[in-house]
Assembly symmetry: C2
Homo-oligomer: 203 residues x 2
C-alpha cells in the first residue's frame, strides 16, 4: 500500500491526499510536524534529502518527492491527466506556474501568518509576497474567464494543484472577493466526486 509522508495543514500534501482519494487508491499517512522540524531528521532525510513533505513511498524504500511530480505519476492513465500531448504540456505549465509564481507567495504568506512566524525579516518580505500573490491570482482569473477548468475543459491535476492553496488564500490575508471567476471555479472543484477538505487526513 502507498504510504504518504504528509502534514495535514500543507496544501502540497493535500494535493496528493485529494488525488489518491478521488482515484480510489488506498494509502496510509505518516503525519510530520514541519514546524517542529520533523522533516529534517536523519531518518526523514534518508527518504527525501530535500527535507520536505509530501513524499510518497510507492513500495518499500521507493520514494517520490515534489507534489506535482507525485500528481503526474499517480494520474497517468486516468481521466485526471489528459492523454493528448499538448494538453499534458499545458497541465505541466500550470503546475509549474503554481510552484513558482503562486505557492511561494500565497502558501508562504499563509504559513507565516497562521503560525505567527512573522519575524521582522519576513514582515519586510510580506508586501512583495502579497503583490506577487495577487499577480498570480490575476493570471488565474483571466484564464478562468475563458475556461471552466484549467486545461481541456475538464477537471484535471492542474486544477488540484491550483486549488490546494487558492482555496485557503484568505488564511494568508488574500481577499478573493474581487475574483468572481476564481470563486466559481473553486466551487466547481469542490463539487467534484469524492472531494475531501484539506482538514481531512484519515480515510
Amino acid at each position: 500500500m502507498f504510504r504518504l509522508y504528509d502534514y495535514l495543514e500543507s496544501g502540497n500534501g493535500y494535493k496528493v491526499r485529494l488525488l489518491l482519494t478521488q482515484l480510489g487508491i488506498p494509502f496510509d499517512r505518516v503525519e510530520l510536524d514541519i514546524v517542529k522540524g520533523e522533516t529534517r531528521t536523519p531518518d526523514f532525510l534518508a527518504k527525501n534529502p530535500n527535507g520536505r513533505i509530501p513524499v510518497l513511498e510507492v513500495a518499500p524504500g521507493e520514494f517520490l518527492a515534489e507534489s506535482n511530480a507525485i500528481l503526474f505519476y499517480l494520474a497517468e492513465g486516468t481521466p485526471l491527466l489528459p492523454s493528448d500531448r499538448w494538453q499534458r504540456a499545458q497541465v505541466l505549465q500550470w503546475m509549474g506556474f503554481e510552484q513558482y509564481s503562486h505557492e511561494p507567495n500565497i502558501a508562504t504568506s499563509r504559513f507565516w501568518i497562521s503560525h505567527q512566524l512573522l519575524t521582522p525579516e519576513r514582515r519586510a518580505q510580506l508586501p512583495q509576497k502579497q503583490a506577487l500573490g495577487y499577480a498570480a491570482l490575476d493570471v488565474m482569473e483571466k484564464h478562468l474567464t475563458e475556461c471552466t477548468f484549467f486545461v481541456g475543459g475538464r477537471y484535471s491535476i492542474a486544477d488540484i494543484a491550483l486549488y490546494a492553496y487558492t482555496h485557503v488564500a484568505h488564511e494568508g490575508e488574500f481577499d478573493l472577493s474581487r475574483y468572481p471567476y476564481i470563486r466559481a471555479w473553486l466551487e466547481r472543484v469542490r463539487l467534484q466526486p469524492r472531494h475531501i477538505p484539506i482538514t481531512h487526513g484519515e480515510r
Copy 2:
C-alpha cells in the same frame, strides 16, 4: 517553425535552446530584455499572461510557458525523456526541485548581483538565498555521489534543467569548489553531443 521568446542570459531560456539544439529541431528566437520590461508589454502578456520567458510558440498563436513544461513537451518520445513511468516521475521530481529549491535562490542571486540590482531589501534577503542555494547544491552533490546523471543513469532533461543555473552559480557568488561530484557532472553534461554554451543564442 518553432519560435522561442527568450532572453540570452536566462538559464530558463537556455534550457529550451539547448534541448532544441540537441534534438536538432530548428527554431527562431525573439530576444526580449527582461530588465527593460519587455516581457510586461501588452503584446507579450497576450502570449504569456504571467509575463515571463521562455515561451515557445509551437504554431501561430499556440504558446507554451514554463521552462520545464516546455522541456517535457519537446522531449516526449526522444531519448532525453525516459519512457519508464517511474523514471519519468523522477525527472519531474528533479525539475520540481529545480524550480522550487534551486532556481529562486541561485538564479535570483545571480540576476541581482550580475545586474547590480541589489536594493537594500534584496541585500537583506541574500544571506537566506545563499543558505538555501547551498542547501540545494548539497542535495545535488549527495545524489551525484551515487549517479552519473540525475535519472536512470543517462543524460535527460532533468540534467538540462539543473545544469542551466548550476554551471553559472559562481555568477551568483556560489562557490562550487567544495562540490567535486557536481563539477564532474557539469563536465559530463558539457561533453554531450551538440552542447551549446548559454551565450549561444543564434543557430
